[in-house]
Symmetry: C2
Subunit: 254 residues, 2 copies
DNA sequence: TAAATCATATGATATGATGTTTTACCGTGA
DNA sequence: TCACGGTAAAACATCATATCATATGATTTA
């Protein structure tokens, strides 16, 4: 080993780096809408400077995610995006990084629109007083710091609010689903936070949601959560429209 | 080939079998609420009769799913269920097999309650005429065969209906999410199908959903889908109540 | 008691042996 | 000449073994 190579962070394991490198080639081919057939393992090992063990382990991971197909004699080729496991955390991360365009953010918001109102409805019935207190705390803290803190902190507090609401639904599946889309959600929030009027309306909706939880009113909680997510979607749509002429990478949103 | 002495199912790969064997030990420990620390790799290799490569690959898979934690010197131990990736297809399958109890089915229905009305709402706006035709076909075929066909076929057609509706939302994330819970959903359907009155009401709700899609009415589509899932939940709750005194394995639902 | 050291289990990677699947070529016979 | 069938080779699939690195619990020592 120790072939002369790069200054990449050694902190990341070798197979993780190889996996990501291969995934990027698949994603790029998908964006260019061109088929991709990898060279045979021996050649690929030489190109990447790794052993077959590492290469194969990485390919196996990608195959498990549905991104490539390995067949004897026929080589390894990229599969269309429709076959990918889009909810896989890794793919979601790579997507958020590369495909952070209108369609992806819209799809993401729609998943939130599915999850959060439902979770809020169940939370209204099942939340413990402690959980409601935690939800309230994150909201109050966010308001208290809305002038002083930086955007990062405010987004973090907003995330905490939403996470606490979903957790209060006492449904581990909903909770995990919410966790899976947490990172892309953070990006969406960073967009939303750039529209002060929306932020203001959003805060009111947050309060309405909290009040509904306190009243143990599932329907009102649902509606309030729909309002919260709906406002976020509007902001995302607005951001997308105003930037639709630029190239759509995540950079423009950071 | 053809000669063979080995009539055993070599079809399953070694590491897959090892993975499942280890997973079962984790699940069992979780059910007994007792901590589980695996013996060191060398011993485990001997116990299972495999090489360290295979064992480690299997353990790595389980670690990736959040079921175990591997630490140098400290050995490998099982993690609590709250840490598992519950939406992982494998875990979902193992869960459906072992934990098919009231709580799991309820959680599952709630995810459907989150996804389907939302997907239906978007489908009302975005479905192509072909997609609506496909949805209608699966519904009509199911009605046509409701007397003659066996339960399996009817459930399959019902699944087809729901899959088509979610697909018509044109949101790949919702579609994949729906696919992930497809297998457990099948179990839930097999329960629902045992209550004729519910099935009848469900058919009416299905028609209402189809009509809403035709009218391009998102709100009506949402409400109809909520009705469909709500009825299914009622059936599941009913089945759970009437069987709550028996032990809760999936067997009782098959 | 606290720091230093050691022993040990896991982590990472390479290499090799053997099995399996598919393609492609080649020989035979009609 | 062409169709058919069988065989060999190519490339992937699987599993094992080996070596060195690293982290950490345990022990010892100052």
């Amino acid at each position: 080993m120790t072939a002369g190579f790069d200054a990449l962070p050694r902190r990341e394991r070798l197979h993780a780096r190889v996996t990501e490198a291969l995934a990027r080639r698949v994603i790029q081919a998908e964006q260019n809408a061109e088929p991709l057939v990898f060279p045979k393992e021996e050649i690929l090992c030489q190109q990447l400077g790794v052993s077959r063990t590492v290469l194969r382990e990485s390919m196996k991971v990608l195959a498990d995610k549905g991104m490539v197909e390995m067949k004897p004699r026929a080589g390894t080729r990229a599969r269309p995006r429709s076959e990918w496991r889009l909810l896989d955390p890794d793919i979601l991360a790579w997507q958020a990084e590369i495909y952070a365009d209108a369609a992806f953010l819209r799809d993401l918001c729609e998943v939130r629109l599915a999850i959060e109102p439902t979770a809020a409805g169940f939370a209204a019935v099942r939340a413990t007083p402690e959980e409601i207190a935690e939800i309230e705390n994150s909201l109050r803290e966010r308001e208290a710091r809305s002038g002083s803190a930086n955007g990062e902190e405010l987004i973090e507090l907003d995330l905490k609010f939403h996470t606490a609401v979903v957790a209060a639904s006492h449904n581990p599946l909903l909770k995990e689903l919410s966790g899976i889309i947490r990172e892309p959600f953070r990006i969406a929030l960073s967009i939303t936070s750039r529209f002060p009027s929306t932020v203001q309306l959003g805060l009111e909706a947050h309060h309405a949601l909290l009040a509904a939880l306190r009243r143990r009113d599932p329907m009102a909680a649902r509606r309030a959560a729909e309002e919260v997510v709906g406002l976020a979607m509007l902001a995302v749509e607005k951001a997308i429209r105003t930037r639709s002429r630029k190239k759509s990478t995540v950079e423009q949103f950071k």
